[in-house]
């Protein structure tokens, strides 16, 4: 299932329920980062992410495979965020409907989410680098691919990839 597209994971969830956990793992980090940037509160971000994914699970049977799963998921996220601003609290309707237990948000989880938000900030800064350097850093630092693999994929020498990563990281340090 790891090779399935987001759209397939959602459309298959009603017949293969384990597919939703794969979908969750794929989007958990960016979703927590999304809510962290908008609320600045790790506990709130965790609560909003939980409700968003619960709503997505409820709606998976109605998701049309020809739609864009990420846009659909973030549509739910935006809606949950707006409602929480309006009401001054995070709804838990979807989680109650699914009979999900209330989850504890401890200090360790808060720390992990805050660290994640820092990484998300670095990803945003990548957009300000030249495209070849950003691509090399994404591949080597975030995707943990070796210099050789990246060099062969973009058809350059390994030394060139090393230079691109090094120069890109230097620029990122200056931007931070």
């Amino acid at each position: 299932m790891d090779g399935w597209s987001d759209e397939r994971l959602l459309t298959e969830t009603p017949s293969v329920p384990a597919a939703f956990a794969v979908f969750y793992r794929r989007h958990e980090g960016p979703m927590l980062g999304y809510f962290m940037r908008r609320t600045g509160d790790a506990e709130l971000a965790a609560d909003l992410a939980a409700e968003t994914f619960a709503a997505a699970l409820l709606g998976a049977s109605r998701f049309r495979g020809d739609g864009n799963a990420v846009a659909w998921l973030y549509g739910i996220a935006r809606h949950r965020l707006m409602r929480s601003f309006e009401r001054g609290r995070v709804e838990d309707r979807a989680r109650r409907k699914l009979a999900m237990p209330r989850l504890e948000v401890d200090d360790e989880l808060i720390e992990r989410i805050e660290r994640l938000a820092g990484e998300e900030r670095a990803v945003e800064l990548l957009d300000r680098l030249p495209a070849d350097q950003a691509e090399a850093i994404r591949a080597h630092v975030l995707d943990e691919r070796s210099y050789k693999d990246i060099a062969a994929s973009v058809q350059v020498s390994e030394a060139v990839v090393r230079k691109r990563v090094s120069r890109g990281l230097t620029t990122l340090r200056e931007l931070l």
Partner: protein, 230 residues
């Protein structure tokens, strides 16, 4: 591991609770279909004369020539070619000929071959991305041949072609020992990644890591079997 494993577990449990019944209903609804299909097929076989029922002969399964395996062995025995070593400088116009010479000593699965667009690479040494030494050409040729074998391995597994699969598995064990890829065996970062991880996965007939690696690194290498990694 996820950032919020408790949420992942809770969602997984909720997904199974919510959709468990639906799977059963789908199964019940379609349970009759295979039985119907089998009945129809039996009827067709019974009615069609024997000669027509056998139809045209299927193409013979792909086999890997012994020469390809011998080439792979020879590369394992060849001297290492570390990437940071200074090697012969090449003009842009010489790249294709050099690649051809190197590829003649590299094994390819039947139907694949050296395929890089050397003319499409940046032409001058002033461009950092240009290729202007024999070592880099050799690295790209060997790496891309490894990609062709990984894709062929997935194809052979999908086809149930045991003979081709055994040959591809043997070559994939050699790929990390080929001259320009050998240094990664000593690199602590790469020792458990890339071709070093593909080799044991192929030996264990574990398609997941092979497919994931080929999809991430080999999609730019055209072969007759690229559909298996899309």
């Amino acid at each position: 591991m996820s950032v919020f494993p408790e949420l992942e577990s809770a969602l997984d449990a909720a997904a199974h609770r919510r959709y468990r019944g639906r799977r059963r209903r789908v199964w019940v609804r379609w349970a009759a279909a295979p039985a119907l299909a089998a009945g129809a097929a039996a009827l067709v076989v019974a009615l069609v004369p024997e000669r027509e029922a056998t139809g045209p002969a299927a193409p013979p399964p792909v086999t890997v020539p012994a020469a390809a395996l011998a080439r792979s062995d020879a590369l394992v025995a060849a001297p290492a070619a570390p990437l940071n070593a200074r090697t012969e400088r090449l003009e842009h116009s010489e790249l294709r000929a050099a690649a051809g010479e190197i590829a003649a000593r590299v094994p390819y699965p039947p139907g694949a071959g050296e395929s890089m667009d050397w003319e499409g690479t940046p032409p001058g040494p002033t461009d950092m991305a240009s290729i202007n030494d024999r070592g880099t050409v050799q690295f790209l040729v060997e790496f891309r041949a490894g990609c062709a074998w990984a894709t062929f391995w997935l194809f052979a597994l999908e086809q149930g072609n045991e003979s081709a699969l055994a040959s591809a598995t043997a070559v994939l064990q050699d790929v990390p020992h080929w001259p320009t890829l050998r240094a990664s065996l000593q690199d602590p970062y790469e020792r458990t990644q890339g071709w070093n991880a593909v080799a044991p996965a192929a030996l264990a007939r574990d398609a997941g890591p092979v497919r994931a690696y080929a999809r991430a690194n080999c999609a730019v290498v055209p072969t007759p079997w690229n559909d298996v990694i899309r």
